[in-house]
Symmetry: C2
Subunit: 132 residues, 2 copies
DNA sequence: AAGTAGTTTAGAACGATTTTAAAGTAAAAA
DNA sequence: TTTTTACTTTAAAATCGTTCTAAACTACTT
């Protein structure tokens, strides 16, 4: 399926701007990035786009499940092109994130989900720090 | 150990402002809060404090391990008085956090920590959403 | 071809947090 | 004790990521 079809299937109009972003992000390679990182990539690809459009796009893509947003208390939002359930190592000093595939973690026992709620995804974060 | 001793032990000068905050936070009750929540509590207790001091204090307390900061991609930093390793349910709609005690989760298998790094704490986040 | 609903944009606005620099205070030294 | 020193607090300004505004634009429908 090409990117235009992917956008349509997600219920998004395939505008010029969304196609530029889709061409960068939806290439099957897993990566973590910020809005600013993406703007730099867009610029490097010979295009340009308002930062407001980039934020709009990322929000739409995230809400449609085309990308994910990582849970992290950094000051800048970090997005992830890997939309499968998976986990992360986080170096709190540098903010660097490293993927952990889902099958590398085995959650033997999970608590009961609170009454009236549904499980909407489990994320394991292993904080790491450089050895001294 | 009283709060003045706790601050000294943590390497922090027990100033008037830090004592006010310690008296609110270090009472053994687990809670999640933002800088603004804390300022409201300070005001309710008949005291007042510059927001800059509150941020300074929270950063120091966090760096000393007197409190923790929760990993969450909310726009506002959330702190936690429960400094033991534990986990959270997160309602992404409302931002509500619910504690999960460490023994309610059983991590049967963990990935190898990357070369040159040390494990610095594991956090499990279970995202939940309201049933419709 | 015309209409309409959704999209993009620059720039302003916003909200959380940090910085600045001056005044204040706790602890150490004399 | 007094003095000195280093650390802390503060209000206000600055910063930074993100969202809003409203006007121009564009994809899709009729």
């Amino acid at each position: 399926m090409n990117n235009k079809e992917k956008l349509r299937k997600a219920g998004l109009r395939p505008t010029k701007q969304r196609m530029i972003i889709a061409d960068i992000l939806l290439d099957g390679i897993n990566r973590h990035f910020t809005a600013e990182n993406l703007q730099n990539e867009i610029n490097s690809s010979g295009n340009s786009m308002s930062i407001a459009t980039i934020y709009n796009c990322l929000k739409k893509f995230r809400n449609c499940g085309l990308i994910k947003q990582v849970e992290s208390s950094k000051d800048t939002a970090i997005f992830d092109t890997n939309i499968n359930q998976h986990h992360h190592f986080l170096d709190e000093e540098t903010g660097e994130l490293i993927d952990i595939e889902n099958d590398e973690v085995n959650l033997h026992k999970l608590p009961k989900i609170p009454q009236g709620y549904l499980n909407n995804g489990v994320e394991v974060l292993i904080k790491i720090k450089k050895q001294v």
